[in-house]
């Protein structure tokens, strides 16, 4: 029997009204790996995440999580199986507090019915304590960044960098087996970018997460990736170590254009 990958996509196609965004894409991520997806804007990277998490169904192909198909499941079911993501465009629950943001997403982890909550029955109370403890644990993962009085502040009062961190904390709180990070360093200054790169390493070492990350910043990609996958127009054009992919002529072409075209 072939080696079983934690996440495996085979032959995934997705098009929007005749525009092929992903075509015949094969991709796998193994337990404990950090895989980076790179590619120019419009290469289909975010669509890839949307297809994995069930926001869109693939037109064709198979997506396996630990050997089981997750095609056709609702997004919340996919999350409950152990896939969590962050959003490139930050989609926090802005009018809820920082702690509530991380508590809310544990919905799938808990079972108390609304009637149990209403009358504060034992299971609801026990789960509530657990939710709170876990939320604080996840927020504490970010050291001094998201602690103390900030827990009770609304999410809209956070700075941009802290919003990105809260997005990650929120994804962590769903207790995923694989984390999908969509441009975690977008819009950050160089020192914050550096910090995010360290954080991703720490997520693997201490959090034991498997990570699939979309990133544009090549320093980050170089620093964290076990493996790099390059996409262009929905097609995988290269895969391998950072050095291999970065020097691959097709990747260079995708990013910079053909030399011939340039000189004309």
């Amino acid at each position: 029997m072939a080696e079983r990958h934690l996440l495996e996509l085979s032959g995934v196609d997705k098009s929007f009204g005749g525009l092929a965004v992903l075509s015949d894409l094969d991709l796998h991520v193994d337990e404990g790996e950090i895989v980076s997806v790179i590619g120019p804007n419009g290469a289909g990277k975010t669509t890839l995440f949307n297809v994995i998490t069930g926001v869109y169904g693939p037109d064709e192909g198979e997506i396996l999580l630990d050997g089981e198909s997750i095609v056709g499941l609702e997004p919340h079911q996919v999350t409950n199986r152990g896939v969590a993501r962050t959003f490139q465009t930050l989609r926090l629950f802005l009018n809820m507090t920082v702690r509530e943001n991380v508590m809310a997403v544990q919905y799938g982890e808990t079972k108390a019915t609304v009637f149990e909550s209403m009358f504060r029955l034992p299971r609801a109370r026990r789960e509530e304590r657990e939710i709170r403890r876990r939320a604080e644990e996840k927020l504490s993962f970010f050291g001094q960044r998201l602690v103390g009085y900030r827990w009770d502040q609304p999410a809209y009062s956070l700075s941009y960098a802290n919003r990105r961190r809260l997005e990650i904390a929120r994804a962590m709180a769903t207790e995923p087996r694989i984390l999908l990070l969509d441009e975690p360093a977008a819009g950050m200054n160089p020192s914050e970018t550096h910090e995010i790169a360290e954080l991703i390493g720490k997520l693997r070492e201490e959090g034991k997460y498997t990570i699939l990350v979309i990133e544009h910043d090549m320093h980050v990609v170089e620093g964290i990736s076990d493996r790099v996958v390059a996409l262009d127009h929905g097609v995988k054009i290269a895969e391998g170590s950072f050095d291999d992919v970065a020097t691959d002529p097709r990747v260079v072409e995708a990013y910079l254009g053909l030399r011939r075209a340039e000189t004309k």
Binding site: H76, A84, R91, F93, A104, A112, M118, R150, S159
Partner: protein
């Protein structure tokens, strides 16, 4: 590296780029100073039980110090509205679903109760069963309406539910002559005449009869529902509702079954409306089609939005204002107090800095006294009118022109008031301050000579509308609402 230096307590002067700075630059952080700020912080930090007592104690004292009529008008009806507001707060405030058919569930509750407990139909169920049935029927109808609608968002949901609400009115108007197979001609709702002679509540042998007893019963019901809702709002379900209100896609991707949660919020709201309907039906011993129309829907929406969507305490305050103010305004003497209190508060709160405030107050007073003095000396007809009843009206008559035949001139003053307010919105700085003086005076003139006589009619709603406009301008998120931020 600015972020690395972030201190662990909010500093007075936030450093550029850190959280506090981000929040304050765009004015998104609410900061209150003075007594208002103190009260708000005290309220925010008070434990829930203390907040509940802050409502319960005055509510329990009220029936002991007031008359039967006032208890009904200010107490009981406010409570029924507040109970309705709690239900709408679940669908609209927590889950953010624009449900415009909400009042129909209220109607289902009232009619179901009447159907099983009234002389009209000849059935006399115990109220504990009848109320449970009313809740169950309303919840079931909510489920039936909500199931196909749960995928709808925003405007579409509003259209479907509005249609449902209107269909309900048509249905109860005509459901007195439905031909069922096997059963034959059946009268479900009494048609246009409604269901009359509905039984008083009879709960475990306690027959609720007087206004006072109804007040206690409704207060108990309201408190119970509020406590349960508070527990729900602080649970996984409540947080999930709020999350899907903020961002349905993020909520769905973050493990929350959005469609099921929406349906749940819809049914929850409907069940509470059904409960309120059963109480309302027995309070007025009847259920009539006209009671469940759009007017009431708008009233309840006003309560929830004014109080702050998503806030339980806000519902109480909203109901007190929306139901209490028009009732207060029925009596000209009380209306006089409401008008001048609102006017003075408005000027005190809105006119800054103090130099302008002094100018406005002094100018308005001086203008009035000068005009009265001039009129007394040369145009006696302008002060020949009768002042109203009461102390305040007497004081005001020294300051306000009261012509002997005011109708025509007061109509003009009314139109002039509106024109002046429009001009006022176009002006800035001292020009605005100066124009404010005649505006206030002319408005008060129109009030004294025209509107005061009609307080029982149109004026009170006019004034309530003005009050709502002012309040919603001052706090768009509602009195107890948290700031709503849509974009960043």
């Amino acid at each position: 590296m600015a972020d690395e230096l972030t201190p662990q307590v909010p500093p007075d002067q936030p450093r550029i780029g850190v959280d506090e700075w981000v929040a304050s630059v765009e004015g998104r952080r609410e900061r209150y100073r003075g007594p208002v700020g103190w009260a708000r912080r005290a309220w925010d930090t008070a434990p829930p039980a203390v907040r509940l007592l802050a409502f319960l104690v005055p509510a329990a004292i009220f029936p002991l110090v007031t008359t039967e009529g006032n208890l009904f008008r200010y107490g009981l009806i406010t409570l029924v509205y507040a109970l309705l507001g709690l239900g709408l707060n679940v669908t609209v405030g927590f889950a953010g679903l624009l449900d415009l058919g909400y009042i129909a569930f209220f109607g289902f509750g009232a009619y179901t109760y009447g159907f099983v407990a009234s002389t009209h139909t000849g059935r006399h169920w115990q109220a504990e069963f009848a109320i449970l049935l009313a809740i169950a029927v309303a919840a079931l109808v909510g489920l039936i309406v909500g199931f196909p609608s749960r995928r709808l968002v925003g405007d579409y949901l509003a259209i479907v539910t509005l249609f449902f609400g209107q269909a309900f009115v048509v249905f109860v108007n005509n459901a007195n002559r439905i031909d069922f197979p096997f059963i034959g001609h059946t009268d479900l709702t009494g048609g246009a005449n409604g269901l009359d002679n509905i039984d008083p509540l009879n709960v475990f042998g306690w027959v609720v009869n007087t206004t006072k007893e109804y007040y206690w019963f409704t207060l108990g019901a309201f408190t119970l529902v509020m406590i349960l809702l508070y527990f729900v709002s602080e649970s996984r379900t409540g947080r999930a509702w709020k999350a899907l209100r903020e961002d349905p896609l993020a909520a769905e991707v973050m493990s929350m079954p959005v469609n099921r949660l929406k349906l749940m919020a819809f049914v929850f709201g409907a069940a509470i409306a059904g409960f309120a309907g059963a109480i309302y039906g027995s309070v007025q011993t009847g259920a009539f089609p006209g009671d469940f129309d759009v007017g009431l829907l708008i009233t309840i929406y006003a309560i929830v939005i004014l109080g702050g969507a998503g806030s339980l305490a806000g519902v109480i305050v909203g109901a007190l204002i929306v139901n209490g103010v028009p009732e207060l305004l029925r009596d000209p003497n009380q209306a006089e107090w409401v008008f001048y209190t609102t006017l003075v508060l408005l000027v005190l709160v809105k006119v800054r800095p103090w130099q302008k405030l002094v100018a406005v107050v002094g100018g308005t007073l001086a203008l009035g006294f000068a005009l009265v003095a001039i009129a007394n000396a040369w145009f006696p007809r302008w002060t020949a009118g009768q002042p109203g009843e009461g102390k305040l009206a007497h004081w005001v008559s020294h300051w306000m022109l009261l012509p002997s035949h005011p109708t025509q001139i007061a109509n003009w003053a009314y139109a002039l008031t509106i024109a002046l307010i429009l001009v006022l919105t176009l002006l800035r700085g001292w020009a605005r301050t100066i124009v404010m003086i005649p505006t206030i005076y002319v408005a008060a003139f129109a009030w004294e000579n025209l509107l005061l006589e009609q307080t029982a009619g149109a004026t009170r709603f006019l004034l309530l509308g003005a009050l709502l406009v002012v309040l919603m301008n001052a706090r768009p998120q509602g009195l107890f609402g948290t700031a709503r931020v849509e974009i960043v």
